[in-house]
Symmetry: C2
Subunit: 408 residues, 2 copies
Amino acid sequence: MTFEDAKTRDAADSLAHCRERFRLPPGKIYLDGNSLGAMPASVPDRMAEVIDCEWGDDLIESWNKHDWMGAPERVAGRLAPLVGAEPDELLITDSTSINLFKLLGAALAARPKRSVILSEEGNFPSDLYVAQGMESFVRGSRLQTVPTDAIAASISDETAVVMLTHIDYRGGGRHDMKAINAAAHRAGALTLWDLSHSAGALAIDLDGDGCDLAVGCGYKYLNGGPGAPAFLFVARHLGGELSNPLPGWMGHAAPFAFDPEYRPCEGIGRFRTGTPSILGITALEAGLATFDGVFLTCLEAKSRSLSELFIGETERRCGGQVRLASPREPEARGSHVVFAHPHGYAVMRALIEAGVVGDFREPDLMRFGFAPLYNSHQDVWRAAEAIGRIIASGEWDQPRFHERRRVI
Amino acid sequence: MTFEDAKTRDAADSLAHCRERFRLPPGKIYLDGNSLGAMPASVPDRMAEVIDCEWGDDLIESWNKHDWMGAPERVAGRLAPLVGAEPDELLITDSTSINLFKLLGAALAARPKRSVILSEEGNFPSDLYVAQGMESFVRGSRLQTVPTDAIAASISDETAVVMLTHIDYRGGGRHDMKAINAAAHRAGALTLWDLSHSAGALAIDLDGDGCDLAVGCGYKYLNGGPGAPAFLFVARHLGGELSNPLPGWMGHAAPFAFDPEYRPCEGIGRFRTGTPSILGITALEAGLATFDGVFLTCLEAKSRSLSELFIGETERRCGGQVRLASPREPEARGSHVVFAHPHGYAVMRALIEAGVVGDFREPDLMRFGFAPLYNSHQDVWRAAEAIGRIIASGEWDQPRFHERRRVI
């Protein structure tokens, strides 16, 4: 494929107009939207409005006047079409890990005769840590981790909840949510999905696939800004049954009655705990607005088109010097692609210096994320060209590229 | 006291220059900084810098380049002098209720032979809800609430932790932290203080008073913006002993090693869970900077001077038509004052329409908070005059003032 071919694909891309919804960093090809999404162009003005007019001028009155109270549900309504859920099944609140704790606790309480949280060995560590924390809280509960291909066979009548990340944060492998939900339900278990690496990039259908519970992060493909509030999903049929193990005043039926006894509100709002972060939720609302009018099928098709181009062009240029560490079949992947290289850290540092921003995961993985709204086929073609050049020239092998930083 | 007297007091006020650090709403006397602090004047520019340059331009690189990773500890360092703690005893993270859950869980685990969380009947409901949630998690644990004057006598060898709010959110009554800490320690119990209604207004001395654990909110007197991140405090002598019941990757000793086993970092950082809210923490950092160069003794003296003036002038003008529902002795109060009136809701609505902003708490309490950095004696004098006028004229008794809103 030539650069002209990439241009032709961009010219035919039905999502090409969405790139203007972002303020992309000049001189960079940003392929790390799976870690921190690019900034929506509307964010500076919208944040200034909330800061100057709502906080500055209207102050406490804004809880009514600008519906700060309703923000966690209102913004959830914008997320609903992106994950195939109804608005009243979703809530914007806290962080992904905190939400995972809430829903794990709720799931264990809903399956009191079962003790096992089933997960996979390579799940995102924070998810495993939350489950490990839960073990020490709920007596008898136990985290069981198994290899990916043993998950379905490991679901038993001891399994309370199957907790998985839809797209593997490292290799980008994708679980078949529908099949695992069905297997879990046959065994009487619940499912809890972490959508952090898929929401905003893939055609997720939480209701259609029969998911019970889910969480996900707001700062990756949803473009909500650094440390954006996260979301949680509780399928409507479970709504009345589950309780929030981290109850707080914002989830009370009447928070301003200041009742000394906790009495949860009806519906998803019971999974609120403390006061919502209005600045964080405002940026996330702008992030979600970048998806206006976008069909999920187009989003996923574009993601696939970008990652296929990337794999093809990178392998063509690098030959055997890199190893594809993501599934080769597009339907088995998410929206990021990982190549292994023995000096992956230094190669990635050199790439970043050359303006191609991906990230690195131990021990040797170079990770590249494709955000269908703002990455173009030309971006991807150029990135593959840069990887080929840097590896072929050996220019990555300089002391400054080997020096470790905290985060890459 | 005449308005000229109030002016004279302002002229002699050593904190008068701090008022310029805020952008106060034009035409209003804002006495609700105990619910949502006024906006620091530096916030719009600082937020624009973080949004445009850090998120927009530098993107993922900002975790290193702009020390986003260190923000929870760095900003805690700014809080330390305001609460009489060392920087490494404090962390900015999550919400007050979530932090309370973390420290309650940690305290119960540190006192495994004791089962009682002792609190007071009128404590802030969210704090009680968190403890009620904990009851269902930690088998045998039990929330015991007693009247305020029975607290010290109720501490026993069954008490794991005494959980109290320093300043009562409703009436403004103040606990003697030092005396309660001493009583708890004599009985072998820990103490956990909620400083939401005192940090940033009073001379708190967590270390000097022998506090074990504390939490507090960032959006009241600390001026951190709506739903700002909260803080938690763990006394250094307990640091190594306590573990975080909500573990997450940001509290791991090596978060980017992606170790499947949780291994907490040394020190207070282990109480981190998920990714910190960078937008929220940025605004809070600006809020804390409004205290630069301010001595806590001056802060508390100013608070007292304002509230004494308010009580005196309001009672002089309203006679028996309002009842002081806060302690009369200044050393027994925090920085807000509550007056009861049978139609307190409508009176408060009328006051807000007249530009004097306080709030209302059921059943009949009008609450007025005094933020020593930006409220003046002239503000307070005018507010008392408005209350006197509105009550004497009966102008509060109009249908629109009786109509209930969600938040006041």
